[in-house]
Protein backbone atom coordinates (compact mmCIF):
# COMPACT_ATOMS: atom_id res chain seq x y z
CA UNK A 1 0.00 0.00 0.00
CA UNK A 2 2.79 2.39 0.91
CA UNK A 3 4.74 1.44 -2.23
CA UNK A 4 1.76 2.27 -4.36
CA UNK A 5 1.39 5.62 -2.63
CA UNK A 6 4.93 6.57 -3.46
CA UNK A 7 4.54 6.12 -7.20
CA UNK A 8 5.13 9.22 -9.34
CA UNK A 9 1.51 9.50 -10.28
CA UNK A 10 0.44 9.47 -6.68
CA UNK A 11 3.07 12.06 -5.81
CA UNK A 12 1.85 14.31 -8.57
CA UNK A 13 -1.72 13.81 -7.46
CA UNK A 14 -0.84 14.70 -3.91
CA UNK A 15 1.04 17.85 -4.96
CA UNK A 16 -1.58 18.97 -7.46
CA UNK A 17 -3.73 20.82 -4.92
CA UNK A 18 -0.69 22.73 -3.73
CA UNK A 19 0.19 23.86 -7.24
CA UNK A 20 -3.44 24.72 -7.86
CA UNK A 21 -3.52 26.86 -4.77
CA UNK A 22 -0.30 28.57 -5.82
CA UNK A 23 -1.71 29.28 -9.27
CA UNK A 24 -4.92 30.56 -7.74
CA UNK A 25 -3.00 32.97 -5.54
CA UNK A 26 -1.05 34.15 -8.58
CA UNK A 27 -4.22 34.70 -10.59
CA UNK A 28 -5.84 36.57 -7.72
CA UNK A 29 -2.79 38.75 -7.45
CA UNK A 30 -2.88 39.51 -11.16
CA UNK A 31 -6.59 40.30 -11.08
CA UNK A 32 -6.08 42.54 -8.09
CA UNK A 33 -3.41 44.45 -9.99
CA UNK A 34 -5.68 44.89 -12.97
CA UNK A 35 -8.49 46.21 -10.79
CA UNK A 36 -6.22 48.66 -9.07
CA UNK A 37 -4.49 49.99 -12.19
CA UNK A 38 -7.51 51.75 -13.77
CA UNK A 39 -8.03 53.65 -10.56
CA UNK A 40 -4.47 54.84 -10.62
CA UNK A 41 -4.75 55.71 -14.25
CA UNK A 42 -7.69 58.11 -13.69
CA UNK A 43 -5.93 60.96 -11.92
CA UNK A 44 -3.67 61.94 -14.79
CA UNK A 45 -6.68 62.30 -17.09
CA UNK A 46 -8.83 64.44 -14.83
CA UNK A 47 -6.31 66.97 -13.51
CA UNK A 48 -3.75 67.40 -16.25
CA UNK A 49 -2.31 70.55 -14.79
CA UNK A 50 -1.63 69.06 -11.40
CA UNK A 51 -0.29 65.78 -12.76
CA UNK A 52 3.39 66.65 -12.37
CA UNK A 53 2.78 67.76 -8.82
CA UNK A 54 0.90 64.61 -7.89
CA UNK A 55 3.37 62.20 -9.47
CA UNK A 56 6.48 63.43 -7.73
CA UNK A 57 5.61 63.18 -4.03
CA UNK A 58 3.79 59.84 -3.70
CA UNK A 59 5.96 56.74 -3.31
CA UNK A 60 5.42 53.82 -5.68
CA UNK A 61 4.04 51.16 -3.32
CA UNK A 62 1.21 53.45 -2.17
CA UNK A 63 0.56 54.96 -5.59
CA UNK A 64 -2.92 53.50 -5.66
CA UNK A 65 -3.82 55.15 -2.40
CA UNK A 66 -2.17 58.48 -2.89
CA UNK A 67 -3.38 58.85 -6.43
CA UNK A 68 -6.99 58.56 -5.29
CA UNK A 69 -6.66 61.56 -3.07
CA UNK A 70 -5.82 64.08 -5.81
CA UNK A 71 -8.62 62.82 -8.04
CA UNK A 72 -11.56 63.92 -5.88
CA UNK A 73 -9.62 66.91 -4.69
CA UNK A 74 -10.48 69.25 -7.57
CA UNK A 75 -14.16 68.43 -7.48
CA UNK A 76 -15.11 67.24 -4.04
CA UNK A 77 -12.58 68.55 -1.62
CA UNK A 78 -13.07 72.11 -2.71
CA UNK A 79 -16.40 72.31 -1.00
CA UNK A 80 -15.45 70.61 2.26
CA UNK A 81 -12.08 72.25 2.56
CA UNK A 82 -13.21 75.73 1.63
CA UNK A 83 -15.80 76.13 4.43
CA UNK A 84 -13.39 75.45 7.28
CA UNK A 85 -11.16 78.39 6.38
CA UNK A 86 -14.06 80.72 5.75
CA UNK A 87 -15.67 80.43 9.18
CA UNK A 88 -12.31 81.27 10.62
CA UNK A 89 -12.04 84.19 8.26
CA UNK A 90 -15.59 85.37 8.75
CA UNK A 91 -15.49 86.61 12.31
CA UNK A 92 -12.98 89.42 11.69
CA UNK A 93 -14.89 90.97 8.77
CA UNK A 94 -18.36 90.61 10.17
CA UNK A 95 -19.85 93.16 7.82
CA UNK A 96 -19.14 91.41 4.54
CA UNK A 97 -18.24 87.75 4.76
CA UNK A 98 -19.67 86.58 1.37
CA UNK A 99 -17.31 88.60 -0.82
CA UNK A 100 -14.35 87.29 1.13
CA UNK A 101 -15.36 83.67 0.61
CA UNK A 102 -16.06 84.22 -3.04
CA UNK A 103 -12.61 85.64 -3.55
CA UNK A 104 -10.79 82.96 -1.62
CA UNK A 105 -12.44 79.99 -3.34
CA UNK A 106 -10.85 80.45 -6.75
CA UNK A 107 -7.43 80.55 -5.13
CA UNK A 108 -8.00 77.42 -3.07
CA UNK A 109 -8.34 74.64 -5.71
CA UNK A 110 -4.72 74.51 -6.79
CA UNK A 111 -3.55 74.53 -3.20
CA UNK A 112 -6.11 72.38 -1.40
CA UNK A 113 -4.83 69.01 -2.65
CA UNK A 114 -1.79 69.54 -0.50
CA UNK A 115 -2.75 68.77 3.03
CA UNK A 116 -0.03 70.75 4.81
CA UNK A 117 -0.71 73.81 2.70
CA UNK A 118 -4.22 74.25 4.09
CA UNK A 119 -3.03 75.91 7.24
CA UNK A 120 -1.36 78.89 5.53
CA UNK A 121 -4.37 79.46 3.28
CA UNK A 122 -6.80 80.57 5.98
CA UNK A 123 -4.27 83.03 7.25
CA UNK A 124 -3.67 84.38 3.78
CA UNK A 125 -7.36 84.51 2.92
CA UNK A 126 -8.14 86.12 6.23
CA UNK A 127 -5.49 88.70 5.55
CA UNK A 128 -6.88 89.32 2.09
CA UNK A 129 -10.41 89.51 3.45
CA UNK A 130 -9.39 91.82 6.23
CA UNK A 131 -7.48 94.06 3.88
CA UNK A 132 -10.18 94.04 1.22
CA UNK A 133 -13.19 94.48 3.50
CA UNK A 134 -12.63 98.17 4.14
CA UNK A 135 -11.94 98.87 0.48
CA UNK A 136 -14.87 96.84 -0.83
CA UNK A 137 -17.65 99.32 0.05
CA UNK A 138 -15.65 102.07 -1.57
CA UNK A 139 -15.30 100.01 -4.72
CA UNK A 140 -18.99 99.05 -4.69
CA UNK A 141 -20.23 102.60 -5.19
CA UNK A 142 -18.41 103.30 -8.47
CA UNK A 143 -19.19 99.76 -9.58
CA UNK A 144 -22.75 100.82 -10.33
CA UNK A 145 -23.05 101.06 -14.07
CA UNK A 146 -26.33 102.88 -14.51
CA UNK A 147 -26.15 102.86 -18.29
CA UNK A 148 -25.32 99.19 -18.36
CA UNK A 149 -28.13 98.41 -15.95
CA UNK A 150 -30.55 100.38 -18.06
CA UNK A 151 -29.40 98.57 -21.17
CA UNK A 152 -29.80 95.22 -19.48
CA UNK A 153 -33.33 96.16 -18.48
CA UNK A 154 -34.06 97.14 -22.06
CA UNK A 155 -32.61 93.93 -23.46
CA UNK A 156 -34.02 91.45 -21.00
CA UNK A 157 -36.66 89.04 -22.19
CA UNK A 158 -38.15 88.57 -18.75
CA UNK A 159 -40.43 91.59 -19.16
CA UNK A 160 -42.83 92.31 -21.98
CA UNK A 161 -43.03 95.55 -23.91
CA UNK A 162 -46.11 96.90 -22.15
CA UNK A 163 -44.54 96.14 -18.80
CA UNK A 164 -41.26 97.78 -19.74
CA UNK A 165 -43.06 100.86 -20.94
CA UNK A 166 -45.11 101.02 -17.75
CA UNK A 167 -41.99 100.71 -15.64
CA UNK A 168 -40.25 103.37 -17.68
CA UNK A 169 -43.17 105.72 -17.14
CA UNK A 170 -43.17 105.09 -13.42
CA UNK A 171 -39.42 105.66 -13.23
CA UNK A 172 -39.87 108.92 -15.12
CA UNK A 173 -42.63 109.95 -12.71
CA UNK A 174 -40.40 109.19 -9.75
CA UNK A 175 -37.57 111.21 -11.26
CA UNK A 176 -39.96 114.13 -11.68
CA UNK A 177 -40.82 113.85 -8.00
CA UNK A 178 -37.15 113.82 -7.03
CA UNK A 179 -36.33 116.79 -9.24
CA UNK A 180 -39.25 118.69 -7.78
CA UNK A 181 -38.09 117.81 -4.28
CA UNK A 182 -34.58 119.05 -5.00
CA UNK A 183 -36.00 122.34 -6.29
CA UNK A 184 -38.26 122.68 -3.29
CA UNK A 185 -41.39 122.32 -5.38
CA UNK A 186 -42.65 119.01 -4.00
CA UNK A 187 -44.70 118.21 -0.96
CA UNK A 188 -43.18 114.78 -0.69
CA UNK A 189 -40.71 114.27 2.09
CA UNK A 190 -37.60 112.21 1.65
CA UNK A 191 -39.22 109.34 3.50
CA UNK A 192 -42.19 109.36 1.16
CA UNK A 193 -39.89 109.42 -1.83
CA UNK A 194 -37.94 106.56 -0.35
CA UNK A 195 -41.13 104.59 0.05
CA UNK A 196 -42.11 105.20 -3.56
CA UNK A 197 -38.65 104.27 -4.67
CA UNK A 198 -38.74 101.04 -2.68
CA UNK A 199 -42.14 100.09 -4.07
CA UNK A 200 -40.98 100.70 -7.63
CA UNK A 201 -37.80 98.75 -7.03
CA UNK A 202 -39.78 95.85 -5.63
CA UNK A 203 -41.99 95.90 -8.70
CA UNK A 204 -38.97 95.69 -10.96
CA UNK A 205 -37.36 92.93 -8.93
CA UNK A 206 -40.63 90.99 -8.76
CA UNK A 207 -41.02 91.15 -12.50
CA UNK A 208 -37.43 90.10 -13.09
CA UNK A 209 -36.87 87.46 -10.47
CA UNK A 210 -38.42 84.60 -12.42
CA UNK A 211 -37.22 85.36 -15.92
CA UNK A 212 -33.90 87.04 -15.23
CA UNK A 213 -32.78 86.35 -11.67
CA UNK A 214 -29.28 87.64 -12.30
CA UNK A 215 -30.55 91.03 -13.33
CA UNK A 216 -33.01 91.01 -10.44
CA UNK A 217 -30.20 90.45 -7.97
CA UNK A 218 -28.13 93.13 -9.66
CA UNK A 219 -30.95 95.63 -9.37
CA UNK A 220 -31.54 94.65 -5.78
CA UNK A 221 -27.89 94.90 -4.86
CA UNK A 222 -27.59 98.36 -6.39
CA UNK A 223 -30.54 99.71 -4.45
CA UNK A 224 -28.53 101.96 -2.16
CA UNK A 225 -26.27 103.15 -4.95
CA UNK A 226 -29.24 104.23 -7.04
CA UNK A 227 -30.77 105.90 -4.01
CA UNK A 228 -27.53 107.79 -3.52
CA UNK A 229 -27.81 109.13 -7.04
CA UNK A 230 -31.46 110.07 -6.62
CA UNK A 231 -30.84 112.00 -3.43
CA UNK A 232 -27.87 113.89 -4.85
CA UNK A 233 -29.12 116.75 -7.07
CA UNK A 234 -25.83 117.06 -8.94
CA UNK A 235 -25.55 113.39 -9.72
CA UNK A 236 -29.23 113.20 -10.60
CA UNK A 237 -28.87 116.09 -13.02
CA UNK A 238 -25.93 114.33 -14.63
CA UNK A 239 -28.08 111.27 -15.23
Amino acid sequence: MQAQARTPTNVVKSRLPLTFVALLVLVVACVHERNSRPVTAEPPTSPPASAPVATTPPPQPEAGVTARAPEPAPSETNAPTAPPPTPAAQPPPAAQPPPATARTRPTNPPVTPRAPATSPIPAASAAVAASSSPSHPVAAAPALDLKGLEQRLRDTNAIGLFTKLSLKNQVADLLVHFNASHHGQSRNTLQQLRQKYEVLLMKVVTLLQDGDPALASTVLSSREAIWGILTDPKRLAAV
Binding site: P38, N157, A158, I159, G160, L161, F162, T163, L165, S166, L167, N169, Q170, K203, L207, G211, D212
Partner: protein, 81 residues
Protein backbone atom coordinates in the same frame (compact mmCIF):
# COMPACT_ATOMS: atom_id res chain seq x y z
CA UNK B 1 -16.79 55.60 -14.54
CA UNK B 2 -20.00 55.59 -16.68
CA UNK B 3 -21.51 58.22 -14.42
CA UNK B 4 -19.65 61.16 -15.96
CA UNK B 5 -20.66 60.54 -19.58
CA UNK B 6 -24.22 59.99 -18.41
CA UNK B 7 -24.21 63.28 -16.52
CA UNK B 8 -22.78 65.14 -19.49
CA UNK B 9 -25.35 63.55 -21.75
CA UNK B 10 -28.20 64.56 -19.46
CA UNK B 11 -26.81 68.07 -19.14
CA UNK B 12 -26.50 68.29 -22.91
CA UNK B 13 -30.13 67.31 -23.21
CA UNK B 14 -31.18 69.81 -20.58
CA UNK B 15 -29.07 72.58 -22.05
CA UNK B 16 -31.63 73.95 -24.49
CA UNK B 17 -34.12 74.33 -21.65
CA UNK B 18 -32.25 77.37 -20.31
CA UNK B 19 -32.62 79.61 -23.35
CA UNK B 20 -36.16 78.37 -23.84
CA UNK B 21 -37.04 79.40 -20.31
CA UNK B 22 -35.59 82.87 -20.95
CA UNK B 23 -38.03 83.62 -23.76
CA UNK B 24 -40.11 86.73 -23.56
CA UNK B 25 -43.43 86.42 -21.76
CA UNK B 26 -46.63 85.83 -23.62
CA UNK B 27 -48.89 88.79 -24.50
CA UNK B 28 -51.26 87.67 -21.78
CA UNK B 29 -48.53 87.77 -19.16
CA UNK B 30 -47.33 91.11 -20.44
CA UNK B 31 -50.83 92.57 -20.30
CA UNK B 32 -51.39 91.14 -16.87
CA UNK B 33 -48.19 92.71 -15.57
CA UNK B 34 -49.03 96.04 -17.19
CA UNK B 35 -52.51 96.01 -15.67
CA UNK B 36 -51.15 95.10 -12.26
CA UNK B 37 -48.52 97.85 -12.48
CA UNK B 38 -51.32 100.37 -12.95
CA UNK B 39 -52.93 99.11 -9.77
CA UNK B 40 -55.82 97.18 -11.27
CA UNK B 41 -56.71 93.66 -10.17
CA UNK B 42 -56.08 90.88 -12.64
CA UNK B 43 -54.96 87.44 -11.55
CA UNK B 44 -54.74 86.03 -15.07
CA UNK B 45 -55.53 87.22 -18.57
CA UNK B 46 -57.72 84.59 -20.16
CA UNK B 47 -58.43 86.45 -23.38
CA UNK B 48 -56.89 89.35 -25.23
CA UNK B 49 -57.97 91.04 -28.41
CA UNK B 50 -55.59 93.15 -30.45
CA UNK B 51 -57.32 96.32 -31.61
CA UNK B 52 -54.30 98.00 -33.15
CA UNK B 53 -50.60 98.42 -32.59
CA UNK B 54 -50.00 98.59 -28.84
CA UNK B 55 -53.75 98.54 -28.26
CA UNK B 56 -55.38 95.55 -26.59
CA UNK B 57 -58.56 94.60 -24.84
CA UNK B 58 -57.80 92.13 -22.09
CA UNK B 59 -60.22 89.95 -20.20
CA UNK B 60 -59.09 88.70 -16.84
CA UNK B 61 -60.08 85.47 -15.17
CA UNK B 62 -62.11 87.30 -12.55
CA UNK B 63 -64.26 88.86 -15.29
CA UNK B 64 -62.67 92.29 -15.37
CA UNK B 65 -62.02 93.72 -18.84
CA UNK B 66 -59.42 96.37 -19.54
CA UNK B 67 -58.43 98.52 -22.44
CA UNK B 68 -54.65 98.62 -22.50
CA UNK B 69 -52.95 100.93 -24.94
CA UNK B 70 -50.07 103.33 -25.40
CA UNK B 71 -51.09 106.93 -25.79
CA UNK B 72 -49.46 109.57 -27.93
CA UNK B 73 -47.10 110.54 -25.11
CA UNK B 74 -45.77 107.01 -24.93
CA UNK B 75 -47.48 106.15 -21.68
CA UNK B 76 -49.22 102.88 -21.00
CA UNK B 77 -52.85 103.55 -20.19
CA UNK B 78 -55.13 100.99 -18.60
CA UNK B 79 -58.86 101.72 -18.56
CA UNK B 80 -61.41 99.50 -16.94
CA UNK B 81 -64.26 98.61 -19.29
Amino acid sequence: MPVRPTVFFVLALLGPIGPAAAQSPSPGQDLKAAIALQGFPCDQVVDSKRNADSDYTATCKDGNRYHVYVDAAGRVVVKKL
